[in-house]
């Protein structure tokens, strides 16, 4: 695997929600990076901050109550958190595009598919004529495997099936050749056979267009089949990061281990599933120590007192767990991220 250039670096990102119950850092000190042309997976259970992370990158955190309270998001070296709304608009859809979990609700039900696609184009290609834009839209629709593109363009979202809508979303995201595509649980709402179609499409597009992809999911299977590298999140923190093979074959963090073990495998029948006891802590309730400590089987004193940093246990494999402290490969968060 050749080392390619970094396209996105998220450093120390903290995004908080200012609610009636206080300030809740839903994303806390998150670090990761994306290389050109790679597919990075982010997994984690519901509410762990996956979507907030991606919205932070897009500058779309609902505000109020949300706000990026710390950290940097470097896109090709440019800090997105410092950009004005106007500059950010040029990034959105143009440099970085995003597709969302719910294909059913992510398209505006009252505008035609064509209208929405063309809008996405003309927003960034100011000098294009409508005709050009339309041609481009049709081209992209064909690219994502939509049949009857010329007719579909005049139809409304409700006339399309879920799978087709998600394809439209992908086409819309790719219409301006973005360098990075963020896909937030793009297949969660779809049936398995349709999910397979969409994932295949995304892999193909990634290869053909060399667009870097951040694929957010809670399905370990999807990660295993689609991504090269993966970031595991738990309660607003990155707990482990590494190549897909490494993570699945040699999970280090107790949470990752538990997660992998608790998935029922279709290929063989386990007598009893492993289960992580307890629940994900409510955001903001764990102030001190490791957020997984309350559910961790290997918990020891230090876990509830200190906040574990990310330890790089081997090249590109990092774990946020004191169990790996003994191995003396403590790395400073910052150096790890910039390397």
């Amino acid at each position: 695997m050749t080392e390619s250039k970094l396209i996105l670096e998220v450093k120390n990102l903290q995004t908080s929600f200012f609610t009636d119950d206080g300030v809740i850092p839903s994303v806390d000190n998150v670090d990761f990076h994306v290389r050109e042309g790679e597919i990075l997976g982010i997994v984690g259970e519901s509410g762990c901050g996956k979507s907030v992370t991606s919205l932070s990158i897009m500058g779309l955190v609902p505000s109020p109550p949300g706000k990026i309270t710390n950290g940097q998001i470097l896109f090709r070296g440019k800090d997105l958190t410092k950009l004005s709304e106007r500059e950010m608009r040029n990034v959105r859809g143009n440099d970085i595009a995003m597709i969302f979990q719910e294909p059913m609700t992510s398209l505006n039900p009252l505008f035609t598919i064509g209208n929405q696609l063309i809008e996405a184009i003309t927003l960034h290609k100011k000098d294009w004529s409508r005709k050009q834009a339309k041609a481009r839209a049709i081209e992209m629709m064909k690219l994502v495997g939509l049949p009857r593109a010329e007719e579909l363009i005049k139809e409304y979202p409700h006339q399309l099936s879920g799978g087709m809508r998600q394809r439209v979303m992908i086409a819309m995201a790719l219409v301006c050749d973005p360098q990075l595509l963020i896909a937030d649980e793009p297949t969660t709402a779809l049936d398995v056979t349709i999910q397979a179609q969409i994932l295949k499409l995304m892999r193909e597009l990634n290869e053909r267009l060399n667009t870097a992809v951040i694929l957010i999911t809670h399905d370990l299977g999807v990660v295993a089949e689609t991504c090269e590298r993966v970031v595991v999140m738990y309660a607003g923190k990155v707990v482990e990061e590494g190549l897909v093979e490494t993570i699945f074959n040699n999970p280090q963090h107790p949470y990752t281990k538990g997660l992998i073990a608790s998935v029922p495998d279709m290929r063989y029948k386990k007598q009893r599933l492993y289960s992580i006891q307890g629940n994900v802590p409510k955001p903001g309730t764990v102030k001190e120590g490791c957020r997984f400590a309350a559910r961790c089987e290997s918990v020891f004193g230090r876990c509830t007192e200190e906040n574990p940093p990310l330890y790089e246990t081997s090249e590109g494999h990092k774990t946020r767990c004191f169990l790996y402290d003994e191995k003396e490969i403590l790395v400073n968060d910052k150096t790890a991220a910039t390397s």
Partner: protein, 296 residues
């Protein structure tokens, strides 16, 4: 063996709760709604204790000495053309306005709920008929309907109350009906059926309580509009009869002396506005507190 009994459910200390208590908590956080509730409470207080507090009665005329005096330290809101203390009359009037608002809405809620439940629950032609009747009543210009009803019954406070109750019935009826229809489709109703529950029990133990929240919200807002409607009828001379200090009637009476004594019109108007505002603020707050969809 008790499965998974090892789970340590972390006993976070939680406040005692219930849906209503929660609603109260979220209501309490809403400052504007609290102001509204404060205003309402203030007027409720007046309605109850007004007669004790008011410096004067409602009909202590003093045509020779105190006619149309401007506000002063003796007569805070001035006097009307009978030489009566407007301040005292407004205080006494709180009971009338709140009473009409409250009881007319109670009446519409009761009748509307019964009709709405029957329509929503039995469906078919019963629903057809009731819904059509609601349609008809809604298509009726409500103030004309009220005027017509009062014309039939004769103008009096009680009849104004009945008229207002009648015009509000279809609103509540429809609300309850649609609520019953939507709750009927909820999964917990299916689950109640699945445990073998009878229809009537489902209706009273599940459907009704769950349809009450919007009724309370709509009710508090309806009190607001009922107060205005009562005032409008009073203004047209179709509501409370003299010498009752009904605010709308006070306004109507004051029109004649508007040029000489604007205070006679300004204060009762303000009283109406403030009371109605209180109910509206409170209703809004209740909606936010009771209707989870409004929560951000």
């Amino acid at each position: 063996m008790v499965p998974n009994s090892t789970i340590k459910t972390v006993a976070v200390k939680e406040k005692s709760t219930g849906p209503w208590l929660d609603a109260w908590r979220s209501f309490r956080k809403n400052k504007v709604a609290l102001v509204g509730a404060g205003i309402v409470l203030f007027f409720v207080f007046l309605a109850i204790f007004g007669p004790l507090l008011a410096p004067q009665g409602i009909n202590e005329q003093s045509i020779k000495d105190h006619r149309l005096l401007p506000p002063s330290s003796e007569f805070w809101f001035g006097t009307d053309d009978f030489g009566r203390d407007i301040f005292s009359r407004i205080i006494h009037g709180a009971r009338i306005s709140l009473g009409v608002g409250f009881f007319s809405v109670i009446g519409s809620v009761i009748v509307g709920s019964i009709l709405g439940i029957i329509a929503g629950y039995y469906g078919k032609w019963v629903d057809m008929i009731i819904s059509r009747v609601f349609d008809i009543m809604l298509a009726f210009p409500s103030i004309l309907l009220a005027i017509a009803v009062v014309s039939v019954l004769g103008p009096s406070l009680r009849n104004a109350l009945i008229a207002i109750a009648i015009i509000n019935v279809p609103n509540f009826g429809r609300l309850i009906r649609s609520k019953v229809l939507s709750i009927k489709e909820e999964e917990y109703i299916t689950s109640a059926k699945a445990i073998g529950m009878k229809d009537m029990r489902i209706l009273f133990s599940h459907i009704l309580p769950n349809s009450m929240a919007p009724v309370i919200v709509a009710g508090s807002l309806a009190i607001a509009s009922a107060i205005i409607e009562a005032a409008a009828l009073g203004f047209l001379g179709l509501g409370a009869q003299a010498p009752a200090p009904e605010w709308g009637k006070m306004l109507a009476d004051a029109r004649v002396v508007l040029r000489n004594a604007p205070w006679a019109m300004i204060f009762p108007g303000l009283a109406i506005m403030l009371t109605v505002l209180g109910f509206n603020l409170m209703g809004d707050g209740l909606r936010d507190a009771l209707d989870p969809r409004m929560k951000n």
